[in-house]
Point group: C2
Chain length 145, copies 2
DNA sequence: GTGAAATTGAAAATTGATTTCAATAATAGT
DNA sequence: ACTATTATTGAAATCAATTTTCAATTTCAC
């Protein structure tokens, strides 16, 4: 994700922040990892390339990515925050398997529109939203009663 | 909410648990407080009546209420769990104001149905779900840009 | 190069949730 | 009512995730 890295560099510059080896490695790794990583997972991956990089720096870089709008921080009830790369402008929601933990994304414009309707009814101005369906995925549903 | 208190007593009996002054006071207070309370908030309210009641007992009683199905535990991204009394069998979702923190509930069967459709497309079996709209309520939306 | 300003990372602090344990209280059986 | 058994209480300790601190290091503008 070269463009994403460039966007991040632009954000850093704009904020007067410095470019460092650690940040570059963390950001690159983040955009090359699929799905929804925790700080610890990303730290672990990053350390394979450069064992000197500390947990704190990964933590701080993920905060920067979140601030810059290039990552989203999410809570899926497993006790730790997970970060996902923002790829398109399209919002998407999540299916979370309670057995294997797999997180699948989906989009549904009809639901989005109905949400706006609901908000309007309440005089509410939506900034963002979160829709999560918890249950069992195709693979696991047969194994669980 | 007298009936809720009775249901709780039934659950306690069924589980061979004892009835105590502390539990009674906590449960009563919980059902008389509107909305979505954190452990700390409920503890604070309970202490006004009986300053001897400890945080841990409030914590444990909320767990019991959750186990018994009389309360739901929720996470609204402010870092601490919030508990809400289960009043009807109807599922509902939430509008959360980012300025004043007010939490409003809503129901929308069309959205529920569309969620089922999405799940079906993915071969997913939904056990429960969470839909939260974050933004500004009628009161606050005028004050925020 | 030099110096001001930002970054790093180990360790410490903080937060919210959960467990431990000795003292206390509730209930069943007598 | 008495006693034995068992559960409950709450302060303090523990835990796990997150966040802050601070001295040493690195970056970048000049």
């Amino acid at each position: 994700m070269k463009t994403k890295v460039i966007e991040f560099e632009r954000y850093m510059e704009e904020k007067g922040l410095k470019s460092t080896t650690q940040r570059d490695e963390i950001v690159n790794t983040f955009f090359n990892v699929k799905g929804h990583v925790s700080i610890e997972e990303l730290h672990h991956t990053v350390q394979k390339k450069n064992p000197k990089i500390g947990y704190t720096t990964v933590y701080r870089t993920l905060k920067l990515l979140t601030e810059s709008g290039l990552a989203h921080e999410r809570q899926f009830g497993d006790g730790q925050a997970r970060y996902e790369a923002v790829t398109t402008e399209e919002h998407h929601d999540h299916l979370i398997c309670l057995k294997c933990g797999t997180i699948t994304e989906f989009e549904n414009m009809k639901i989005e529109r109905l949400q706006e309707d609901v908000a309007k009814e309440h005089g509410f101005k939506v900034k963002n939203h979160k829709l999560e369906l918890y249950g069992y995925c195709k693979k696991c549903r047969n194994e669980v009663k």
